[in-house]
């Protein structure tokens, strides 16, 4: 009880000292408030639209559409006007203000709510989150600790405290907080990801890899990307390039640009003539093995020969959706068969699943062609030469044919000309 009193006193002291300074900056910020939790940057790859695992996130902290937020804010203000002494109303208003980025106003509302109900753990949590957003790590830590004192079971408070501790450079304390959050809620992949990151930063790679894998399986794309990295570098796990490709591909599905970058890098490693033979062979083998391992995801599918594409097999097996996913995966993993199939599907389309001249296919070709994949280059040359779904651009087609043998280039140009 005594400890709590001290903490509260400290908290108020910090408010008193900071308030005048903050008040001058209390106007609405020009930029959107920095997200409390990292969000993946928008995907440039036209992979199947990633479905965020929203169920694991704090719903009140997620930014909603601005129009909604403004309307909600008006309602919340009305509610506060009706009953000014309701702490809950104030807290909700604070949340609303936080969503639109008015951190100072949100802070004020939180403080009023805390005055109305001083032992509200959630209010402290809210306060801590806002302070964290305002980059006041120390004050945020105190608020979150107060919240934890009031309600030690408050998982989100532990999780946020972990982040605050980390930003303060207290890595061990951060690890403890994340562990506590995981104890309270084992099914919390983000906490696992955070814990794995901090463990990784303290050079506990094996433990980190374990938590990272769990988070990746839990669907955190950053974790999947890092997992891919771990498998590539052999950090904490045994080196395994096919697995790295798998995790990166998974991350790319969630729009992880870095993963796409890593994959692109690996493709270049496999295709570029500048690379050493060993590295190239490693990369090619990795992609080949990855494609083989894809078959294991669909146990029912029968594989007739080693070079057969899983996507084609699935399409044949009338599993159109899976087939297309598999085709894309194989095409990104440098499968010429899948590539040809996709080229065909680009022109024809596949009932409702795949439109004619699908942009995703074009993006896939562009990506792999940029990485130096010859079949993609040929396909793109034909597409641009013939103007399949795009404006005909012979120059671009010719550019695509650069680096090919003369005969191949001539054959394709003849084909374009024969149209």
């Amino acid at each position: 009880m005594r400890r709590r009193l001290v903490l509260v006193t400290l908290l108020f002291a910090s408010f008193i000292t900071r308030f005048p300074v903050h008040s001058s900056f209390a106007q609405a910020p020009e930029n959107a408030p920095p997200p409390v939790i990292e969000t993946p940057p928008p995907s440039s790859e036209t992979s199947p639209a990633p479905v965020p695992a929203d169920e694991h996130r704090l719903p009140e902290l997620l930014p909603h559409e601005p129009e909604d937020a403004v309307m909600v804010l008006g309602e919340l203000r009305n509610a506060v006007r009706v009953s000014p002494n309701s702490a809950d109303g104030r807290l909700k208003l604070a949340q609303g203000l936080y969503r639109i980025g008015d951190l100072d106003a949100a802070l004020d509302e939180c403080r009023v709510a805390l005055k109305l109900r001083s032992n509200d753990a959630r209010a402290y949590l809210q306060l801590g989150v806002i302070l964290l957003a305002k980059q006041d790590g120390h004050a945020a830590a105190i608020a979150l600790m107060e919240a934890i004192l009031l309600d030690p079971e408050l998982t989100h408070a532990h999780y946020s405290l972990g982040s605050v501790q980390y930003s303060l450079g207290h890595l061990t304390a951060a690890i403890q907080s994340y562990r506590r959050a995981l104890e309270l809620q084992p099914n919390f992949p983000d906490a696992r990801y955070r814990l794995a990151l901090v463990l990784k930063l303290t050079n506990r790679h094996q433990e980190a890899a374990q938590f990272m894998e769990e988070a990746a399986i839990g669907g955190v794309p950053q974790a999947q990307y890092f997992m891919g990295n771990a498998y590539r570098n052999g950090q904490g796990v045994e080196k395994n390039l096919p697995l790295a490709i798998r995790w990166w591909t998974n991350a790319v599905e969630f729009g992880q640009q870095r993963a796409a970058e890593s994959l692109s890098q690996l493709r270049r490693q496999a295709l570029s003539p500048d690379q050493s033979e060993r590295r190239r062979k490693d990369a090619i083998e990795a992609f080949s093995q990855y494609r083989n391992e894809l078959w294991a995801d669909y146990p029912g599918t029968v594989r007739s020969d080693a070079s057969e594409s899983l996507g084609i097999a699935l399409l044949k097996d009338s599993q159109a959706s899976n087939g297309i996913t598999a085709l894309f995966a194989e095409a990104f993993a440098l499968s010429e068969t899948a590539q040809d199939e996709l080229a065909r599907l680009y022109e024809t389309g596949l009932d409702t699943r795949l439109a004619q001249f699908d942009r995703r296919i074009l993006a896939c070709f562009a990506t792999t062609a940029a990485d130096g994949f010859i079949p993609s280059k040929k396909a793109l040359a034909r597409i641009y030469g013939k103007g399949l779904g795009v404006t005909p651009d012979l120059q671009k087609a010719k550019t695509m044919l650069k680096g090919l043998s003369k005969q191949e280039a001539k054959a394709i140009l003849d084909e374009i000309a024969g149209r």
Binding site: P34, Y166, G169, R194, L197, K200, L201, N233, Q235, R268
Partner: protein, 885 residues
């Protein structure tokens, strides 16, 4: 106390010691001054380096160095504040992929990334990139949040000197646990490990800090840089060719922090960030343009050396010369500084040595003034000491020299004794045998030769008779004259003498006074008699009077006679020699020995042919032919005043100078034959023969007593010889000739003055150095010694045994007196030791003769005198005398 004064003396006399002390003091003072005004002194000390940096040709930029800098375009992309670490991760990975050999990142891993800069994910990405891209050099931070075993931390410290100018970089900064290398050095070492892993680490070199050799003006502009935005674009667009071109095989340094401003002030006047300074260090190492500086100890040592040298120059060469030398030394040092900098890239201290030199200049002047008097005193003392030492050395030298000579003499004596004793016997036996056979041969040959000679003479005689008239007349005349001479008792076949005889024969007929001159024994009386015999008075009286034999009191009585009762004992009238010779001839022998008063009396007789008998009143007139003779030089007597000139002119009517026997050696054989026959006849012995050797000896002998001596010699030989042959030995010519020569000048102690004086002068000139004198005279050294020894003995005799006086006389110059005295003492000592064992003078002298056989004879008389004196005195006294020396 003694030690202190000796040390002080040592100190004052050694300019090295003084210079050392002065240098040390100046160094300490210079350090004090430095501490007092460190900014000024530091700036001055580094002036050469600063000047050189700004005004020399710029050093090249290493082609292996690539610097990627933050530019406005990249700030537009990544923001103006600190950047997301994920960006660094990508840069590092790309650089590594593109073949960079060593990568440096001007970034500290000291804080967790805030959420807006990627948070933990970015941190993890950076660490991952660092671990894949191999060792990356990052900047050290005191509280590093992250650690990776593939990072190398390097510090960005810059050593600013007390004038606030950054010139050096510490090689390593020691943190809490480990030492951290400098950023630039760490990068260089990482690069070295990639290119040549065998090279030793620079940080192990032992130097604490590294002087920076700046490129250009020391700013980042001196390096070619690549903007961050270009690199990022290339990465984004997968322009691997460009990236490879930039990064492959290079040291890549990313400078993601703003590089404007900075806190390090350079010698060039620019202000840069410490990372730029480290880039210059890196470039300096890559292009191998290292600069070297000396440690504090070397600094002090050089200061000490320069100060010491200047002090020494000032002390050693006083006056303006010293200032000139000191100035030259300082200037030389200045030149050395520049030279070391240009040639060896070595920065030598400037301010301290020159300050110390200046201090020394002042200090030395003061010191010289303070110690001048004392130094003078010391110098005087030294001079005295040296003089004493020189004298002592000279004494020792003299003693050794004379001792050596004495020993040499002894050795020579011993040697001759040995050779004589061993060789003599054999030689004697052999030579007697040989001589006997030779004698027999010689006798037979002589007989034969005589026979032949007689035959030849007869032949010659008959031949002469047959040849032309004028020649025959000469020879005949000579023969006649010879025969005439023989009748008169003059035995000669010498043409000169015969001619003289002819003249005499002619002159004898006149009444003129005749004066016969010649050495004793040349036959003056014979010729006087010949004058009488050949004159018209031949039938009258011939009276010969030896003037030297007449007692002075009886001179008048003997010559002029006396009357009865004229003096006691004059019992009857007596006629004098003049009266007795009336109408005849009177021969006045040894006229040169006549006293002056007698000379005047004689003169009257010669003038007037009349005289008074002693006691008579009537003069007596006589008709007498006067022939005088003497062996003395009357002309010299006239000039010296012991012979009256008028008498001399009265006597020299006809003058005949008889040649000595040595000038007519042709007569020796005839005389010998005649004398031998005569003497043998007188002695009743068979006429002996002369051996060839004996004949030669007779001819070669210098007959000082002339024919008289010659005859005596033969008489003695015949009297003492038993055999039929007279050998050279039996003639005893050695003794015979030596003793008269010795007796001829009995009173003469001082020998041949000219020669001795010359030797003495020469000795004086050379400070009585035997060797030098011998060289000058062209003599053997021992000869000179013998002469000096003789002179010493002589001088000792003259000084009545007073050695100091004798030495002074010999030395002439007082400075040499001591040397001479020592020699003299030693010679005398030797003499005493030689004669000491003998009981009598004779024995001692005999030994001396043997021992001092090389001493000139004339000096031996001095020896004799000294020996006699010694034996006359008590021996102990003389010994004491010796000890006294």
């Amino acid at each position: 106390m003694f030690d202190t004064s000796r040390l002080w003396r040592q100190f004052l006399s050694s300019s090295w010691l003084q210079a050392g002390a002065m240098g040390l003091l100046a160094t300490v003072l210079a350090f004090g001054l430095w501490a007092a005004a460190s900014t000024t002194f530091t700036a001055l000390d580094w002036a050469a380096y600063d000047f050189w940096l700004t005004d020399r040709a710029p050093i090249p930029v290493s082609p292996s160095l690539l610097i990627v800098t933050r530019d406005p375009a990249s700030e537009e992309e990544f923001g103006t504040g600190p950047w997301d670490r994920a960006i660094f991760a990508r840069l590092l990975t790309s650089a590594h992929e593109s073949g960079a050999l060593a990568i440096g990142l001007d970034h500290r891993l000291d804080h967790a990334s805030p959420a807006q800069l990627g948070g933990a994910a970015s941190d993890a990405l950076l660490l991952e990139a660092i671990s894949t891209a191999g060792p990356i050099v990052v900047v050290q931070s005191p509280d590093a949040t992250f650690a990776s075993n593939t990072t190398i931390v390097g510090h960005l410290l810059v050593t600013a000197h007390s004038d606030h100018v950054a010139r050096a970089v510490p090689v390593a900064a020691t943190g809490d646990r480990q030492s951290v290398p400098a950023f630039g050095i760490a990068l260089y070492e990482a690069f070295q490990q990639q290119t040549s892993p065998m090279k030793p680490s620079l940080s192990e070199g032992g130097t604490a800090s590294l002087l920076v050799n700046y490129v250009g003006n020391g700013t980042i502009d001196a390096f070619p840089t690549v903007p961050m935005s270009s690199v990022w674009n290339a990465i984004e667009h997968h322009e691997s060719d460009r990236l490879t071109e930039w990064f492959n095989g290079k040291v890549v340094v990313f400078l993601p922090n703003p590089i404007a401003g900075g806190s390090s002030l350079l010698s060039t006047g620019q202000t840069v960030t410490s990372s730029v300074v480290h880039l210059h260090v890196l470039n300096m190492l890559l292009t191998d343009n290292r600069l070297y500086q000396l440690g504090a100890a070397s600094h002090s040592l050089i200061t000490l050396l320069v100060a010491g040298l200047v002090a020494w120059l000032l002390l050693q060469f006083r006056g303006t010369t010293s200032l000139l030398f000191a100035g030259m030394a300082s200037a030389t040092y200045g030149a050395l500084i520049l030279l070391a900098l240009v040639a060896a890239h070595l920065v030598l201290p400037l301010a301290m040595p020159l300050t110390a030199a200046l201090l020394v200049l002042v200090g030395t002047t003061i010191w010289s003034h303070l110690t001048a008097h004392q130094r003078l005193m010391l110098l005087e003392q030294d001079m005295l000491r040296l003089q004493q030492e020189a004298a002592a050395v000279r004494e020792a030298l003299v003693l050794r020299e004379t001792r050596a000579e004495t020993l040499q003499e002894d050795l020579a004596v011993a040697r001759t004794a040995i050779t004589q004793s061993t060789g003599r016997q054999e030689e004697l036996t052999r030579s007697t045998d040989l001589l006997r056979t030779q004698l027999a041969d010689a006798q037979t040959q002589e007989e034969e030769a005589r026979r032949k000679l007689e035959g030849l003479e007869q032949q010659l005689h008959s031949l002469r008779a047959a040849t032309s008239e004028p020649l025959a007349i000469g020879d005949v005349e000579l023969d006649r004259l010879r025969d005439e001479c023989r009748q008169l008792g003059i035995i000669t076949q010498d043409a000169g003498l015969l001619r003289l005889y002819r003249d005499l024969k002619k002159g004898a007929k006149s009444p003129l006074t005749v004066l016969v001159l010649g050495e004793p024994g040349t036959g003056k009386e014979l010729f006087a008699r010949a004058v009488h015999r050949l004159s018209p008075r031949t039938g009258k009286t011939f009276i010969a009077v030896n003037m030297a034999a007449i007692s002075p009191e009886l001179f008048e009585s003997e010559l002029f006679g006396h009357s009865k009762g004229s003096f006691t004992g004059a019992t009857a009238d007596r006629r004098g020699y003049f009266e007795l010779a009336n109408h005849g001839t009177i021969f006045l022998d040894e006229i040169g020995d006549l006293r002056l008063d007698h000379q005047s009396k004689l003169l009257r007789v010669l003038q007037e042919r009349s005289f008074y008998r002693v006691g008579a009143t009537i003069p007596t007139t006589v008709d007498v032919r006067i022939v005088a003779a003497t062996n003395r030089d009357l002309q010299r007597g006239v000039s010296e005043g012991w012979f009256r000139e008028d008498l001399y002119f009265r006597l020299t009517g006809l003058v005949f100078r008889l040649p000595p026997l040595r000038e007519r050696t042709g007569d020796v054989l005839i005389l010998a034959a005649i004398f031998l026959t005569e003497i043998a006849g007188q002695m009743g012995k068979p006429v002996p023969k002369l051996s060839n050797e004996a004949l030669r000896a007779l001819v070669e002998h210098e007959w000082r007593g002339n024919v008289r001596e010659f005859r005596h010699c033969l008489e003695q030989a015949i009297a003492l010889n038993d055999g039929p042959l007279l050998t050279k030995e039996s003639l005893r010519l050695g003794n015979a000739s030596a003793s008269p020569a010795g007796q001829a000048k009995p009173s003469q102690i001082l020998p041949d003055p000219a020669s001795d004086t010359a030797v003495l002068n020469c000795l004086r000139q050379h400070g009585f150095d035997m060797q030098a004198t011998a060289k000058t005279l062209g003599w053997d050294r021992s000869t000179v010694t013998q002469r000096l020894k003789g002179l010493s003995f002589q001088a000792l005799v003259e000084a009545n045994g007073n050695q100091a006086q004798a030495a002074a006389t010999l030395a002439g110059d007082p400075s040499l007196t001591r040397t001479v005295e020592l020699k003299l003492m030693d010679y005398y000592d030797h003499l005493l030791t030689t004669i000491q064992p003998f009981a009598t003078v004779a024995e001692a002298l005999l030994d001396c003769k043997r021992r001092f056989k090389n001493l000139p004879d004339r000096h031996f008389r001095s020896v004799e005198t000294l020996v006699r004196q010694y034996f006359r005195q008590d021996k102990p006294t003389s010994l004491e005398l010796r000890k006294g020396f």
